[in-house]
Assembly symmetry: C2
Homo-oligomer: 211 residues x 2
């Protein structure tokens, strides 16, 4: 497959949400214009985004809503369960451990880890916090797909090196630091301060910003 830009994948996730909304409202077909309007983009962009994955829709008739939604779920890998661990049982890690939106999409949090002896063994929202020293053993046994990293910045590189070595192929990093991972590892960085900087930029420059 061609290399797909991250911004394209984000838009596919958005289109899927709109389609599910249309589905709930009983709409059978939708035009690329309508999808584009909801997503704040152009119909040409919608058609281009979808064209990477085959031919959808009929000229003049638009897209069949349930079919396109099913296809997007398939493209996004949402037809199966993904096994997720969270590393770092601080505030954000604990909040994510019980986030309902994950399970609804097939992201199944199976464990949360910390290296702090004061936290290990404590219960948090149905999870018993695991000792980080057991990471490698657990990953081998439990076939973990994705690790969510909510450790302090100074610990993040060391932990991600262990994650990769243990065989996990995808990492969502909340630590405010640029991690080095091999090319075959999927890495996403979520940086709350950077998100706010998009807003301060818009306010400082009086530029509308609407993603």
């Amino acid at each position: 497959m061609k290399h797909i830009a991250e911004s394209t994948v984000r838009r596919l996730s958005l289109y899927l949400r709109f389609l599910e909304d249309f589905e709930q409202r009983g709409l059978a077909t939708i035009s690329s214009d309508e999808l584009a309007a909801r997503g704040g983009t152009t119909s040409a962009q919608v058609r281009k985004d979808l064209s990477f994955f085959g031919s959808f829709g009929k000229r003049g008739l638009g897209y069949a809503v349930p079919e396109l939604a099913a296809k997007l779920r398939d493209i996004l890998g949402l037809g199966r369960e993904w096994r997720v661990i969270i590393i770092g049982a601080g505030k954000i890690g604990s909040a994510l451990a019980q986030y309902r939106g994950f399970r609804q999409r097939g992201f199944n949090v199976v464990g949360i880890y910390d290296s702090d002896p004061a936290k290990v063994g404590k219960r948090v929202d149905g999870f018993t916090i695991r000792d980080l020293t057991t990471l490698e053993k657990d990953v081998a046994k439990e076939e973990i797909d994705i690790a969510v990293l909510t450790v302090p910045a100074e610990a993040a590189q060391q932990v991600v090196t262990r994650i990769v070595k243990a065989g996990i192929g995808a990492v969502m990093n909340f630590a405010p630091v640029q991690l080095q991972v091999p090319d075959h590892i999927a890495l996403k960085n979520v940086n709350m301060a950077m998100e706010l900087e998009g807003l301060s930029f818009a306010l400082a420059n009086r530029t509308p910003l609407n993603d």
Copy 2:
């Protein structure tokens, strides 16, 4: 000013982080090649991103690290304090209220709100949870710049309409729903499940994804 794409602003935030790292390590100048390598982009992209905001760097000498960092802080609106409120004192709202990375960048959380009588008045990390009914009065008095929305999806549109009417110009939305706001409002959506979908896409399609 020309319209600046959100992806450009994100890269500026990233460049700033690299420059601050270089600054700490005592580097005086940096080439666009080195900045590009750290950011996983091209030197042409770096030069294009910076060219929106004036002329930087000297041919063959690169960029002066402290000057470019200062300029980026200025462009991103980081030379001043931004007053932030959080609406929704659930797990994620509470985690964000005490997130140190915000204050380091000048984002000063001044209050956290909830509409649940069982939560209002309780203390959370140095904040007394405020009653959402006082929002309009507080915003007028406290000159709030940015609202972070961590309420349930079904309440989000109603709350954002109040936020906008109260005069707040920027909203960071964590509710998994597409909000309608006037064009002059800066809106950023952070959707944790969508971030994970970027990873499931990469795993399902065996495509490297490295932002």
